[in-house]
Amino acid sequence: MTRKHGWIGGLLAIPLLLAACSSNNGSNEAAGPNSGGSTSAASDGAGEPYELTMAYFTLGSVPKDQLLIQDELNKITKAKLNTTVKLLPISISTWQNQINLMLTSNEKLDLMPILGNTYANQVAKGQLVELDELLAKHGTGILEALGQDYASAAMINGKTYAVPSVRDLAQSYGFQIRKDLVDKYNLNLGQVKELEDLEPILKTIKDNEPNMIPLVNQAGGSPFSDTFSTRDSLGDDMGVLLNNGQDLKVVNWFETEEYAATLKLMREWYKAGYIGKDAVTNKESTSDQIKGGKGAGNLANMKPGYDVQESRQAGMPIVSVEMMPPVAKTSTVTNIMWGIAKNSDKPERALQFLNLMYTDKDIVNLLDWGIEGKHYVKVSDNVIDYPQGVTAGNVGYAGTGWLFGNQFLSYIFKGDDEQLWEKMKEFNTNAIKSKALGFTFDSTSVKTEFAAVSNVLSQYRLALECGALDPDKVLPEFIKKLKDAGIDKIIAEKQKQLDAWAAANGK
């Protein structure tokens, strides 16, 4: 009997213990911001204190010194704007789901990067704050950094809802691979121009490194679709412009011979083992796969200084070959933008902070490189290096440079071209420009078809593009499903909007 009672007593004690723990936590948390708040009230901040929530995606895992960066950042923002910023990194593979959930459930969220393919949809649903007025008032730094052309590339119906980050605003496409493999097997990258040219390289790797996947894909992404492209996807691939948008005729990409031929090639590669047999269910980023020794290389969107950037990501030397010259399309500009969520309580404050991300060298470098002395040391005025004992493999923080506002304010890493940003500017200006640059499709009027086609795309596309299915059998089925879902109606609507846009902009 007594034993039984003791047992029950123990059980009863558990919730009490839990309650005690949680109340402790509560008081700790409460004490933190309060003590911070009292110091800031004394300083000359702009208005009352506010905590911004800034969500963004990370390509690999969340860096371990994430919180240190946040604390350091808050010292700056507290002084300048009387604002603290809560950083909310989300893995890229779950980004779309998470951000949709946050937006629809009205969670606390102020600033977030916006990916070009969801932009129009988010605007149509009223999830983004209109920025024109705010930009004129608090965002002059952003407008200056971008220049008028690029700032207006993201306009929908003459209004701005997001601003592109300042980075490579065009894209070239190519293949990247571990340098040690190139040296070991004497691979000749120079000859590679077309996808077919990759075949001997992939074969060599498959034959000599049977446990390695020669061509890896992004988590939930196809090996080539976003990373080797001759089309202007016009944002969503439902109706595209061929030949990098050199003429304004919208066609169904999935019906083109080029698409069919590429699928066929992917099928051969899949069968030969050049693409992973588990590519369809892959949940790892390309750089993680290469880092882990599982993969050899991948197709990629490239830009000046790409090799060095990737070597740093993968923690080992990477070399690459450019297969297609740089092209600028709406999608390459609006690819990565920043917007303010409708959920935001203080959009002005969010924009003021965003403005700092485009103008304040300290903030940009903090987010890009981490803390001076801990994550990097200065070698010269604008060049940095890892501190002693720190390497790409064990550094506690590495940000995504092209994401956080104005990359041209970022320090140049030792080993990178010191003229990198000048070259990047040149890259942006010299790129082939799609004639539809600046056009964003508004899908509201074909919402039903858009949803139905999206479902068909998520059903077929990945498996086909990874080569896991035989295109001879499945591609016709895929095309038929697309037509049933109403892709032709979307294409017609897109053509109509594009013609109207072209007429209005004198193209």
Binding site: L101, K125, G126, K277, D278, T281, S458, A463, K481, D484
Partner: protein, 335 residues
Amino acid sequence: MRHKQSNQLNSWLDCVLSGLRNDEERVANIMGSTAKRWKKFTPLFLLMLPGLAYLIVNNYLPMFGMIIAFKDINFSKGILGSDWVGLKNFEYLFKTSDAFIITRNTILYNASFIVVNTIGAIGLAILLNEIRQKFFQRFYQSVIILPHLISMVVVSYLVYALLSSETGLINKTILPWFGAEPIAWYSSKEYWPYILTVVNIWKGIGYLSVVYLASIISIDPEYYEAATLDGATKWQQIRTITIPLIMPVITMMTLLAIGRIFYSDFGLFYQVPMDSGILSETTNVIDTYVYRALMNLGDIGMSSAAGVYQSIVGFVLVLLSNYAVRKFSKENALF
């Protein structure tokens, strides 16, 4: 020993039931006195309160959200302020064969799960009951109920360990034994009805068979003794004693399952196929469809439409199955 226990249980139940009956009579006698009635039943109402509150908050309040399915939700205008769009949100469901596929999958999967799991669980329960050594009986019980306690995410990776093309046991070890070609399981939709059924049995059968075992144990052993004396075989005993005597439990468990036929195990249909799009023809059920609609399209109007569709079809199905049950045995019907 077992016999004694069950007798004790029965007499206890009798006592409670007769007590209730007496109460009813007394209630009838004192119907006039409201105050006394209140006094009598207040504790019962109080007991009911938390459950009722939960029901209202969890099951009735969200019904308000159904209007979202008929609106073009714009976050700047709010839910009530957004424009009405009639049935427009539902169009995409019927634009393709999606609505048909997810309805078919949901019903067929759940129906086959009910049949297969019930038969399997009863068989297993009878087998367990025949094991005389206590240690082994306990051991097997624990082993078969273990999968019930594993999270679906873990299950999905167990399945992946078997089916993966690069490292999976089946593709790397078992198929080569037979000289067969490896199969790309995650892009071949034709296998998934079987895979999902097997996974579901493996996971669900233990729990169900323990329920049946409990009712088999409570059968009076004298029946079996008498049958053995008359020279009945084991098979005859099972057919004529065990099955008929646990029939009420079987009916009840099956009815409960039929009532939930339109709710599918989300983890099973989403996690186990690794969210592979190409399998959706055989793995997409209404729950996963609604989830994907919200997550991929981010359109709460359209995903609510799918949710409302689920509720309506589910409601019709419950009515139908209840009707069927009434025909079969009236006292087992829900209403």
